[in-house]
Protein backbone atom coordinates (compact mmCIF):
# COMPACT_ATOMS: atom_id res chain seq x y z
CA UNK A 1 0.00 0.00 0.00
CA UNK A 2 1.83 3.13 -1.16
CA UNK A 3 2.04 5.89 1.40
CA UNK A 4 1.98 8.45 -1.36
CA UNK A 5 -0.11 10.38 -2.14
CA UNK A 6 -0.56 11.60 1.42
CA UNK A 7 -4.31 11.03 1.13
CA UNK A 8 -3.43 7.35 1.60
CA UNK A 9 -2.12 8.02 5.10
CA UNK A 10 -3.88 11.13 6.36
CA UNK A 11 -7.35 10.18 7.51
CA UNK A 12 -10.29 12.36 8.53
CA UNK A 13 -10.75 10.19 11.63
CA UNK A 14 -7.28 11.11 12.87
CA UNK A 15 -5.82 7.57 12.62
CA UNK A 16 -2.03 7.61 12.94
CA UNK A 17 -0.93 4.02 13.41
CA UNK A 18 -1.80 0.71 14.97
CA UNK A 19 -1.55 0.80 18.76
CA UNK A 20 -2.45 -2.77 19.60
CA UNK A 21 -3.94 -6.05 18.56
CA UNK A 22 -6.16 -7.61 21.19
CA UNK A 23 -6.60 -11.36 20.96
CA UNK A 24 -9.21 -12.91 23.21
CA UNK A 25 -8.90 -16.46 24.47
CA UNK A 26 -11.33 -18.39 26.67
CA UNK A 27 -9.83 -19.37 30.03
CA UNK A 28 -9.77 -23.00 28.92
CA UNK A 29 -7.20 -22.33 26.18
CA UNK A 30 -5.58 -19.14 27.49
CA UNK A 31 -2.34 -20.76 28.66
CA UNK A 32 -2.03 -22.74 25.43
CA UNK A 33 -2.45 -19.66 23.24
CA UNK A 34 0.01 -17.75 25.42
CA UNK A 35 2.54 -20.53 24.95
CA UNK A 36 2.05 -20.48 21.19
CA UNK A 37 2.38 -16.71 20.91
CA UNK A 38 5.46 -16.66 23.12
CA UNK A 39 7.10 -19.24 20.86
CA UNK A 40 6.10 -17.34 17.72
CA UNK A 41 7.15 -13.91 18.95
CA UNK A 42 10.28 -15.36 20.49
CA UNK A 43 9.88 -13.66 23.86
CA UNK A 44 7.82 -14.29 26.97
CA UNK A 45 4.97 -11.85 27.54
CA UNK A 46 4.67 -9.22 30.23
CA UNK A 47 1.86 -9.99 32.64
CA UNK A 48 -0.30 -6.91 32.94
CA UNK A 49 -2.79 -8.55 35.26
CA UNK A 50 -4.36 -11.94 35.75
CA UNK A 51 -5.71 -12.99 32.38
CA UNK A 52 -3.97 -10.19 30.47
CA UNK A 53 -0.57 -10.53 28.77
CA UNK A 54 1.27 -8.19 26.45
CA UNK A 55 4.13 -8.44 23.99
CA UNK A 56 5.83 -5.26 22.85
CA UNK A 57 6.40 -5.50 19.11
CA UNK A 58 9.26 -3.98 17.16
CA UNK A 59 9.11 -1.40 14.44
CA UNK A 60 11.65 -2.30 11.75
CA UNK A 61 13.81 0.66 10.89
CA UNK A 62 13.56 2.13 14.38
CA UNK A 63 16.21 1.02 16.84
CA UNK A 64 14.74 3.04 19.69
CA UNK A 65 11.09 3.55 18.85
CA UNK A 66 9.12 6.03 20.92
CA UNK A 67 6.38 3.46 21.31
CA UNK A 68 5.77 -0.18 20.55
CA UNK A 69 2.71 -1.73 18.95
CA UNK A 70 1.32 -4.17 21.48
CA UNK A 71 0.06 -7.68 21.03
CA UNK A 72 -2.43 -8.24 23.84
CA UNK A 73 -3.76 -11.61 24.89
CA UNK A 74 -6.73 -11.37 27.22
CA UNK A 75 -9.42 -13.49 28.72
CA UNK A 76 -12.83 -12.01 27.88
CA UNK A 77 -14.28 -9.53 30.33
CA UNK A 78 -17.14 -11.38 32.04
CA UNK A 79 -19.11 -8.13 32.10
CA UNK A 80 -18.73 -7.53 28.38
CA UNK A 81 -21.38 -9.36 26.37
CA UNK A 82 -19.60 -8.71 23.06
CA UNK A 83 -16.38 -10.27 24.27
CA UNK A 84 -18.16 -13.28 25.71
CA UNK A 85 -20.15 -13.76 22.52
CA UNK A 86 -16.99 -13.51 20.44
CA UNK A 87 -15.13 -16.29 22.22
CA UNK A 88 -18.24 -18.44 22.32
CA UNK A 89 -18.58 -18.07 18.55
CA UNK A 90 -14.98 -17.92 17.39
CA UNK A 91 -12.92 -19.39 20.18
CA UNK A 92 -9.58 -17.62 20.51
CA UNK A 93 -9.08 -14.87 17.98
CA UNK A 94 -8.50 -11.24 17.13
CA UNK A 95 -11.31 -9.21 18.69
CA UNK A 96 -10.06 -5.64 18.72
CA UNK A 97 -7.59 -3.43 16.94
CA UNK A 98 -6.35 -0.33 18.72
CA UNK A 99 -5.64 2.71 16.58
CA UNK A 100 -3.54 5.63 17.72
CA UNK A 101 -5.39 8.81 16.85
CA UNK A 102 -4.62 12.48 17.08
CA UNK A 103 -6.13 13.62 20.36
CA UNK A 104 -7.66 16.53 18.51
CA UNK A 105 -9.88 14.04 16.70
CA UNK A 106 -12.00 13.83 19.81
CA UNK A 107 -12.26 10.06 19.52
CA UNK A 108 -12.36 8.21 22.82
CA UNK A 109 -12.74 4.64 24.02
CA UNK A 110 -13.91 2.40 21.18
CA UNK A 111 -16.35 1.84 18.36
CA UNK A 112 -18.27 -1.42 18.15
CA UNK A 113 -19.68 -3.00 15.05
CA UNK A 114 -21.42 -6.33 14.49
CA UNK A 115 -18.08 -7.66 13.21
CA UNK A 116 -15.45 -6.40 15.59
CA UNK A 117 -14.18 -3.55 17.67
CA UNK A 118 -11.79 -0.65 17.08
CA UNK A 119 -10.32 1.05 20.14
CA UNK A 120 -9.24 4.66 19.78
CA UNK A 121 -6.04 5.58 21.62
CA UNK A 122 -5.55 9.38 21.73
CA UNK A 123 -1.93 10.51 21.52
Amino acid sequence: MPTRPTSNTEHPNGALSIAHLRVLAPPSVFVGVATELAAIVGEPPIEVSEGELVWLLDLPGQLTPKWHPQLLLCEPDVDDEDELRFVQTHGAGLFEIGVRVDERSGKRRWSDTPFGRVAWIPV
Binding site: M1, P2, T3, R4, T9, E10, H11, P12, N13, A15, L16, S17, I18, L21, V23, A25, G32, V33, T35, E36, L37, A38, A39, I40, G42, L57, D58, L59, P60, G61, Q62, P65, P69, T89, H90, G91, A92, G93, L94, F95, I97, S111, T113, P114, F115, G116
Partner: protein
Protein backbone atom coordinates in the same frame (compact mmCIF):
# COMPACT_ATOMS: atom_id res chain seq x y z
CA UNK B 1 -1.26 5.01 7.87
CA UNK B 2 1.68 7.36 8.36
CA UNK B 3 3.90 4.62 9.83
CA UNK B 4 3.27 2.24 6.95
CA UNK B 5 0.80 -0.08 8.66
CA UNK B 6 -2.29 -0.68 6.68
CA UNK B 7 -5.66 -2.34 6.82
CA UNK B 8 -6.60 -4.49 3.89
CA UNK B 9 -10.27 -4.46 2.99
CA UNK B 10 -11.37 -7.57 1.17
CA UNK B 11 -14.71 -8.07 -0.51
CA UNK B 12 -15.86 -10.63 -3.04
CA UNK B 13 -17.17 -9.22 -6.28
CA UNK B 14 -20.09 -11.66 -6.40
CA UNK B 15 -21.71 -14.27 -4.15
CA UNK B 16 -21.08 -17.90 -4.99
CA UNK B 17 -24.56 -18.18 -6.53
CA UNK B 18 -23.51 -15.74 -9.24
CA UNK B 19 -21.32 -18.37 -10.91
CA UNK B 20 -22.67 -21.25 -13.04
CA UNK B 21 -23.16 -24.51 -11.09
CA UNK B 22 -20.22 -26.92 -11.33
CA UNK B 23 -18.12 -24.33 -13.16
CA UNK B 24 -14.41 -23.73 -12.46
CA UNK B 25 -15.21 -20.15 -11.49
CA UNK B 26 -17.76 -21.28 -8.93
CA UNK B 27 -15.32 -23.80 -7.55
CA UNK B 28 -12.64 -21.12 -7.30
CA UNK B 29 -15.05 -18.77 -5.52
CA UNK B 30 -16.06 -21.50 -3.06
CA UNK B 31 -12.52 -22.45 -2.18
CA UNK B 32 -10.99 -19.00 -2.05
CA UNK B 33 -9.11 -18.72 1.24
CA UNK B 34 -11.44 -16.15 2.78
CA UNK B 35 -14.68 -17.69 1.52
CA UNK B 36 -15.37 -19.67 4.68
CA UNK B 37 -14.68 -16.80 7.09
CA UNK B 38 -17.22 -14.67 8.90
CA UNK B 39 -17.19 -10.93 8.22
CA UNK B 40 -14.85 -8.98 10.47
CA UNK B 41 -11.17 -9.31 11.25
CA UNK B 42 -9.91 -12.34 9.38
CA UNK B 43 -6.14 -12.15 9.81
CA UNK B 44 -3.20 -10.14 11.08
CA UNK B 45 0.43 -10.30 10.05
CA UNK B 46 3.97 -9.66 11.14
CA UNK B 47 6.84 -8.90 8.84
CA UNK B 48 8.34 -12.04 7.32
CA UNK B 49 11.91 -12.98 6.46
CA UNK B 50 11.99 -14.50 2.96
CA UNK B 51 15.78 -14.48 2.70
CA UNK B 52 16.50 -16.06 6.06
CA UNK B 53 19.00 -18.90 5.92
CA UNK B 54 16.68 -21.04 8.00
CA UNK B 55 13.19 -20.71 6.54
CA UNK B 56 10.90 -18.84 8.89
CA UNK B 57 8.36 -21.65 9.03
CA UNK B 58 11.10 -24.05 10.16
CA UNK B 59 12.24 -21.65 12.88
CA UNK B 60 8.69 -21.15 14.11
CA UNK B 61 7.98 -24.87 14.12
CA UNK B 62 11.19 -25.51 16.01
CA UNK B 63 10.15 -23.01 18.68
CA UNK B 64 6.59 -24.32 18.85
CA UNK B 65 7.79 -27.90 19.16
CA UNK B 66 10.23 -26.85 21.87
CA UNK B 67 7.34 -25.22 23.75
CA UNK B 68 5.38 -28.44 23.62
CA UNK B 69 2.80 -27.13 21.15
CA UNK B 70 1.35 -29.15 18.29
CA UNK B 71 0.64 -25.97 16.33
CA UNK B 72 2.67 -25.67 13.18
CA UNK B 73 3.35 -23.21 10.37
CA UNK B 74 3.21 -24.16 6.70
CA UNK B 75 6.14 -23.63 4.33
CA UNK B 76 6.45 -20.24 2.69
CA UNK B 77 3.98 -19.56 -0.11
CA UNK B 78 5.03 -17.24 -2.92
CA UNK B 79 2.80 -14.38 -3.99
CA UNK B 80 3.07 -11.38 -6.21
CA UNK B 81 1.47 -9.04 -8.65
CA UNK B 82 2.33 -6.56 -11.35
CA UNK B 83 1.73 -2.95 -10.49
CA UNK B 84 -0.19 -0.71 -12.85
CA UNK B 85 3.13 0.78 -13.93
CA UNK B 86 4.42 -2.64 -14.96
CA UNK B 87 6.74 -3.17 -11.99
CA UNK B 88 6.60 -6.72 -10.68
CA UNK B 89 6.53 -7.16 -6.92
CA UNK B 90 6.91 -10.43 -5.06
CA UNK B 91 6.42 -11.53 -1.49
CA UNK B 92 6.22 -14.67 0.60
CA UNK B 93 3.52 -15.63 3.05
CA UNK B 94 4.23 -17.88 6.03
CA UNK B 95 0.82 -19.01 7.32
CA UNK B 96 -0.22 -21.11 10.28
CA UNK B 97 -0.79 -24.64 8.95
CA UNK B 98 -4.49 -24.57 9.94
CA UNK B 99 -5.05 -21.04 8.70
CA UNK B 100 -7.67 -22.11 6.18
CA UNK B 101 -10.05 -23.42 8.80
CA UNK B 102 -13.23 -21.46 9.39
CA UNK B 103 -12.45 -20.61 12.99
CA UNK B 104 -9.13 -19.78 14.52
CA UNK B 105 -7.70 -17.86 11.60
CA UNK B 106 -6.98 -14.86 13.79
CA UNK B 107 -5.68 -16.80 16.75
CA UNK B 108 -2.11 -16.59 15.44
CA UNK B 109 -0.35 -14.19 13.09
CA UNK B 110 0.82 -14.99 9.64
CA UNK B 111 4.01 -13.50 8.25
CA UNK B 112 4.51 -11.59 5.02
CA UNK B 113 7.97 -10.78 3.74
CA UNK B 114 8.97 -8.88 0.64
CA UNK B 115 11.12 -10.71 -1.90
CA UNK B 116 11.45 -7.64 -4.09
CA UNK B 117 12.42 -4.37 -2.36
CA UNK B 118 9.73 -3.44 0.13
CA UNK B 119 9.78 0.08 -1.15
CA UNK B 120 8.17 -1.17 -4.36
CA UNK B 121 5.14 -2.38 -2.41
CA UNK B 122 5.06 0.07 0.50
CA UNK B 123 6.62 3.30 -0.60
CA UNK B 124 7.66 5.01 2.58
CA UNK B 125 8.48 8.66 3.06
CA UNK B 126 11.75 9.40 4.83
CA UNK B 127 9.89 10.56 7.93
CA UNK B 128 8.06 7.27 8.29
CA UNK B 129 9.05 3.83 9.45
CA UNK B 130 7.98 0.42 8.32
CA UNK B 131 5.95 -1.58 10.72
CA UNK B 132 5.64 -5.22 11.58
CA UNK B 133 1.94 -5.46 11.20
CA UNK B 134 -0.71 -5.39 8.60
CA UNK B 135 -4.14 -6.78 8.75
CA UNK B 136 -6.78 -8.45 6.68
CA UNK B 137 -10.48 -8.15 7.12
CA UNK B 138 -13.59 -8.79 5.13
CA UNK B 139 -16.22 -7.02 3.25
CA UNK B 140 -18.65 -5.33 5.62
CA UNK B 141 -15.86 -3.48 7.39
CA UNK B 142 -15.42 -1.53 4.21
CA UNK B 143 -18.81 0.07 4.56
CA UNK B 144 -18.29 0.65 8.22
CA UNK B 145 -14.98 2.40 7.78
CA UNK B 146 -16.32 4.40 4.89
CA UNK B 147 -19.15 5.69 7.01
CA UNK B 148 -16.82 7.16 9.60
Amino acid sequence: MPDGAYLELISFTHPESHYPPSSPSRDARRHQQWANKECGWVAYAFLGAPRATQPLFALLNERLSGAGSNTRYAPEDAGGRTRSDGVEIQWEITPPARWAEKEGGTRLPFFCGDVTPRDLRVRMSSASATTTTFFGLRTRWLAWFSSR
